[in-house]
Symmetry: C2
Subunit: 158 residues, 2 copies
């Protein structure tokens, strides 16, 4: 997935977001970059040394952050497409779960996918997975909900 010349969904729809996981404008954040794929969104991420749990292996909370933010964007883009809109709704995480299947190694580019498994008017359930060297290291599932005006997160993308 070489898309250096292409803008991510975060860069297109939320360039000023300061989210720790996905905000292009958070200098110290993970700045994940998600792109449309065949069955949802895809992204790649190369962890830093500070993201380890113990030498050589990535922390489960960082893995959860990658999957949570990528899953949220998968839901937001799917809800946008369903509604026929050009901008995604403001979605927040209601819940997510992470299963760590094998240690996630440092020094590799991780591949993360997100695919909608159920979608409603204002919410979507998404399955996420994280692979290193072609092996599934972690999987997750999340429920993401579009919030309305008045919610503290409303207009978070802008």
């Amino acid at each position: 997935m070489e898309r250096d010349g292409e803008k991510s969904v975060q860069e297109i729809h939320a360039p000023s977001s300061i989210c720790f996981g996905c905000g292009p404008s958070n200098r110290n954040g993970l700045k994940i970059r998600s792109f449309r794929g065949e069955r949802g969104l895809e992204m790649e991420f190369t962890p830093s040394e500070e993201h380890q749990a113990f030498p050589g292996m990535i922390n489960g909370g960082i893995i959860g952050t990658l999957l949570d933010c990528h899953g949220n964007w998968t839901a937001a883009i799917a809800l946008m497409d369903k509604a026929g809109d050009s901008e995604p709704p403001c979605t927040v995480t209601a819940s997510y779960s992470i299963r760590l299947r094998r240690p996630t190694p440092l020094g590799r580019t991780l591949s993360v996918t997100g695919e909608v498994v159920e979608i409603g008017e204002n919410r979507a359930s998404v399955m996420m997975s994280l692979l290193a060297d072609g092996k599934v290291c972690a999987t997750g599932e999340g429920l993401f909900v579009a919030v309305k005006e008045g919610h503290p997160a409303f207009h978070r993308w802008n």
Copy 2:
């Protein structure tokens, strides 16, 4: 919970850990400090601006990281106590789930608890909760497993 003069379980048992969430020796990590409480472990954490999801509210991945690492230590200390040992076993996260019940605000000291709900020979299930201003903002549950020699995480505490 004012325990500035007291060492946390991380400082006692894993002073050289570089874990992103709980390692005392990770300069850029969250450096959570967990202490024994009445029903498990307790800790307090004050997020930084970089931990936000959108202005004023904390990112769900950071919340997951706090609960995952604190839950893991709750399990490790409980397994140590059960075995009558003086050092905890090397535990890793098998899975965790997070439910975000209301926005977690920036600018507050968050209180996090961890309580074992089921314990076996080499594994424990833990319930975690995160409160701000006395209100439950997030809850979670995790399964943490002690690993044996040969696992990449073995001896991670030292």
